[in-house]
Symmetry: C2
Subunit: 242 residues, 2 copies
Amino acid sequence: MPVVSGGQSKPPAIRRIASLAPLSDAEISMLARASAEWTHLTARREFVIEGDPVPQMQILLSGWVASVRQLADGRRQILGFLLPGDIIGLCPQPEPLALSTLTSLTDVSVCPAPRSAPHGSLARAYAMAKALDEAHHLAHICRVGRLNAQERLADLLLELHDRLELAGLTDGGSFELPLTQEILADALGLTQVHVNRTLQLMRRSGDLDWKERRVTLHDPSALAVKIGRDRVRVSALQSPAV
Amino acid sequence: MPVVSGGQSKPPAIRRIASLAPLSDAEISMLARASAEWTHLTARREFVIEGDPVPQMQILLSGWVASVRQLADGRRQILGFLLPGDIIGLCPQPEPLALSTLTSLTDVSVCPAPRSAPHGSLARAYAMAKALDEAHHLAHICRVGRLNAQERLADLLLELHDRLELAGLTDGGSFELPLTQEILADALGLTQVHVNRTLQLMRRSGDLDWKERRVTLHDPSALAVKIGRDRVRVSALQSPAV
DNA sequence: CGAGTACTTGACGGGCGTCAAATGATGTGG
DNA sequence: CCACATCATTTGACGCCCGTCAAGTACTCG
């Protein structure tokens, strides 16, 4: 659960938001206060529905969420994943409608996102978050449009690794991946069976390991080079991470 | 080229922007004045490069632009198309870097986009434009991830039709499509050869016609139903068009 | 009229989907 | 603590959609 830890370091979600812009102490404590009002959500709940009005802006504090579209005949496409520190309902237009359904993949906790002052650092952090969202969507188009199964898997896992790293949720190349192969398949535009086969291949070639909900990329940067992946950059002010 | 016509109706680009929010007369004439300072660009020029700083915000007045990513080994993925009335360089974050390369597919004219007052209708129009961009990107993920070749083609052509309609650039189900089959292939995650074959099929089944750079969808709404496509909606304030 | 570009068509192969079933995990109640 | 249901992973056989390679046919333009 979201515990604002005693004295040591920031909780993952806040740590990640703070990495987007140099927040003031006042802004950090706004976030800390907001995260005290967290709510809980169990796994497999559709808590935002495509086409419905977008609810109050929220911060995902812990757990994983998928942004999903379902086709009439049952096919599903996962548009992206939301990780701790990601913002829900960040839409500049008036009376926004949700562009996708949000489903909790795990137990999840969220809290209301503090309103930002017009020109403060928090507003900048939100703008960066929105831009990163867009960058991830574009990366996903490329993945699904032009990469083969192995490249898709590697590329997605590397993106998730980079994003989780900013929240302090990685341990070297290793991190928790609370997804089933079927969910990966729906994200990558593949079938569950083929994802499985591709994973076997990558395990045997030593690229990764995956047991008990934990993935280990044996050499993330080598893998990134191998498939020709660049890190995401959306602003010149940004360190060359995420 | 961009002629602010004598007395009759608004030029396509302005017409489309005005469809996003109820602009005041003052705002409309700001747009008209801005469009008088248009610049020209010939076809096949990369005028924004991925990773470079984003230039001054501009309005695409006429012509088609592709948002492109090129992989190291030569594969290309087109992330989306920009049509007259679309905004270039609309990024809220500070010192933004371009997330994709912009290539003119035809001769193109652009003009600087007027700065919007903080809470005016023009700001709302820009916010809507940004939201529509996002919606189109998400639609593209689904297309490329889960639709087969025929569905991809139909879905993309329907989207382009709907967007051009708002600019007054359609004639029933028919509109100019200044794209080669190779460019369509790069957008749809297919090969040029397979796009060709798919087009033949759809021609023979009576779904569409395409000669001399002009496509005709014989029955757009029937086609939309056939492939299970909904129109894009990003705000409750929006009429159920585009 | 020749060169370039876009479109068309055919033959063939492979990556990935489909169908089906076995094996292994996880959890719940008796 | 075991019986049993449920869910996730694994594996095999087979086939199709789409990619690849190659050649031929229009168009356009200098």
